[in-house]
């Protein structure tokens, strides 16, 4: 039960985190009426995950060998792109709103950008969605097997609890975030999403290494005895900031390059030692 709990928590955590942030974000800018974009995006992500999970059962040959990998890798890079774009946009608004007390966002401008919000919700859910669906499906197949027995059902329960806890974490962010001041919320989530995107980007680069499109290189460090990505905390940090227990040099380089570029994009225009100190504070 513990093992299946960690698996589903690991898969669902990132999605819950991102959805929690996006909902809070809409709430903050007075866009409650636009929640449905996030909900639809997330729901579409679930539907697409189930369709792909069922679909792979019908695939065979090169389509089965390559199709899911191409989709998975594509989704990662799309997610990085939309998250970066979103972060940049949030920064623009944080600046615009600064000095005016919780001013409502310009309605027209918001509406034009809402598809990004929906796309973020979709990619966040879809990224690990297929894997999670397949995992739960496998658990159920085993539990309904005559030989399955109690142990299998406790596995199903563990899987379900893992997802529930992930959703709970997203909910906590949503509720906690509502109380934080707008300025602080923007700063913290911008940083958080930046690290999350850096982790995603290096994961995408890692996939290209797995395909043999980039050289494997050697492992830079090995902290798996200390903090495995399969443990609760390791899984948490992996989803949050892209922690890796055994990263390759290329992955580390990708992570740092993304961080540098994103920091320049998001914070470069107002970079000064004083402001830097301010920003580190809420993190």
């Amino acid at each position: 039960m513990g093992a299946t709990f960690v698996v589903t928590l690991r898969e669902a955590f990132e999605a819950a985190l991102v959805l929690g942030i996006v909902y809070t974000y809409l709430e903050k800018i007075g866009g409650r009426q636009h929640y449905r974009y996030v909900t639809w995006g997330g729901a579409l992500g679930v539907v697409a995950s189930i369709m792909i999970a069922v679909g792979v059962g019908f695939l065979s040959g090169p389509l089965l060998d390559l199709g899911p990998d191409v989709v998975a890798t594509g989704v990662i890079f799309v997610a990085v792109a939309v998250l970066t774009w979103h972060g940049w946009w949030m920064q623009q608004h944080a600046r615009a709103i600064k000095g005016e007390v919780q001013r409502r966002l310009d309605e027209a401008q918001a509406t034009r950008r809402l598809w990004i919000v929906a796309l973020i919700a979709f990619t966040a859910v879809f990224r690990e969605g297929t894997e999670t669906v397949l995992f739960l499906w496998g658990l159920l197949a085993q539990a309904t097997d005559a030989a399955g027995g109690v142990a299998s059902w406790s596995g199903v329960a563990g899987g379900a609890i893992g997802i529930t806890v992930a959703v709970g974490l997203g909910w906590t962010i949503f509720h906690g975030g509502k109380r934080v001041s707008l300025q602080k919320f923007f700063s913290v989530t911008s940083l958080l999403l930046m690290f999350l995107s850096a982790g995603l980007f290096s994961a995408g680069i890692g996939k290209l290494q797995g395909f043999g499109l980039l050289p494997q290189g050697s492992i830079v460090w090995d902290t798996s005895p200390l903090l495995s990505e399969r443990s609760f905390l390791g899984a948490f940090l992996s989803g949050l900031v892209g922690y890796r227990a055994r990263p390759s040099g290329v992955e580390v380089a990708a992570y740092l390059t993304y961080l540098l570029l994103a920091a320049a994009l998001l914070f470069g225009h107002r970079w000064s030692p004083v402001r830097a100190a301010d920003r580190l504070d809420p993190a």
């Binding site: 792979v56 059962g57 390559l66 894997e131 995992f135 496998g138 797995g210 395909f211 043999g212 050697s218």
Partner: protein, 115 residues
């Protein structure tokens, strides 16, 4: 903006498809069978030559899906129940590379030893 994004995304996917296709067609590597049965891998140790890419032919004989996952190789691959998947492994430096069946980590474990 939306159209531009869609074009960029489809271009990216197409490029990736093409690259993967090229990577597959470029060589005719050795094929190594690997079976999943009873939530275990058979064999659990695979010996290969270092520096030569190969193809794992993974057959899942179980009733549920399994995910071949190797953090060392940066590979995750779902094998639906009753299916066979060809998984291209790039050339490896000498060493041991662990893998697990992510859906049954306790029992499904194995390693590739490249020499």
């Amino acid at each position: 903006m939306r159209r531009l994004m869609a074009v960029l995304v489809s271009l990216g996917v197409a490029a990736l498809m093409a690259l993967l296709g090229v990577a597959r067609a470029a060589d005719t590597p050795r094929e190594v069978p690997l079976t999943i049965e009873g939530n275990r891998f058979m064999p659990e140790e695979i010996a290969v030559k270092a520096g030569a890419p190969f193809v794992l032919i993974i057959t899942n004989k179980d009733r549920g899906p399994e995910e071949f996952e190797s953090r060392d190789l940066k590979i995750e691959k779902v094998i639906p129940a009753g299916k066979t998947v060809r998984l291209k492994i790039p050339s490896l430096k000498p060493g041991t590379y662990g893998f697990v069946g992510e859906y049954h980590e306790k029992t499904a474990k194995g390693r590739i030893v490249a020499e």
